[in-house]
Amino acid sequence: MPQLQPLVRPSTDNQTSSSDAAATAKAWNVVVWDDPVTPMPVVVVILRKIFAFPNAKATRLMMTVHHEGRAIVWSGQRDRAEAYCVQLHVAGLQATIEQDS
């Protein structure tokens, strides 16, 4: 019977340079942009549905979009930011991603 020993690999810690860590540390933001035609309750519904935000948070973000022209609605890893951006486009909102400066 074969011995079932856990496979021990060299730690990945020493394979990751500090510059890589710095490059990935900056979060990616999902930005929703204002437009002159979308009804405000529609923006709230879409933000609640896609991000599962409570009504108060979705409403606050919608008001930020309305007054400031844009709002960062989510920050985090790039692939998740892109996926959220796709969902917002599918829902008909103007959205982009950008990396924290």
Partner: protein
């Protein structure tokens, strides 16, 4: 007198669609335009459906574009399939909302309405479709959960 709404959430969870036949025709026409624009690259609205995700990049991620294209087309098709129903469920209501929202933004782009000022100078007949879509979406947002 109680206000009359286009969509009513019933106690069993279904959403009743109280839209007259002429209104249904308008809604179906808008849904069909979105569905057509997705599959026809020569369609007037096609480019409006594919805004770049990252403005600093020259090209959008093709996999993300494909994902978006597929999801948008699915929503528009589901919306069209349920467009004549007396009652719709939550999934169908979401498909209606997203499809009509895309129609609204595409109409906005086609009309060259990029800010409130350019909307204000348009005549009512020029923005009739925009106003109608806004009204339907406003009513839908009341019942979509």
């Amino acid at each position: 007198m109680a206000p009359r709404h286009l969509f009513i959430r019933r106690r069993d969870g279904r959403i009743e669609v109280r839209v007259a036949e002429s209104g249904r025709e308008f809604i179906v026409k808008q849904m069909a335009r979105v569905a057509a624009a997705e599959s026809d690259s020569a369609h007037e609205w096609h480019s409006y459906l594919h805004a770049p995700m990252n403005p600093s990049a020259d090209a959008d991620d093709p996999l993300r574009v494909f994902e978006r294209q597929k999801a948008t087309a699915t929503n528009a098709e589901l919306a069209l399939l349920s467009a004549h129903e007396e009652f719709i469920n939550d999934v169908e209501a979401w498909a209606w909302l997203t499809t009509l929202q895309i129609a609204l933004r595409s109409e906005m782009m086609a009309q060259g309405v990029f800010d409130s000022a350019s909307l204000d100078v348009k005549s009512e007949s020029e923005v009739a479709d925009i106003r109608s879509l806004q009204y339907v979406l406003f009513e839908l947002a009341r019942v979509v959960s």
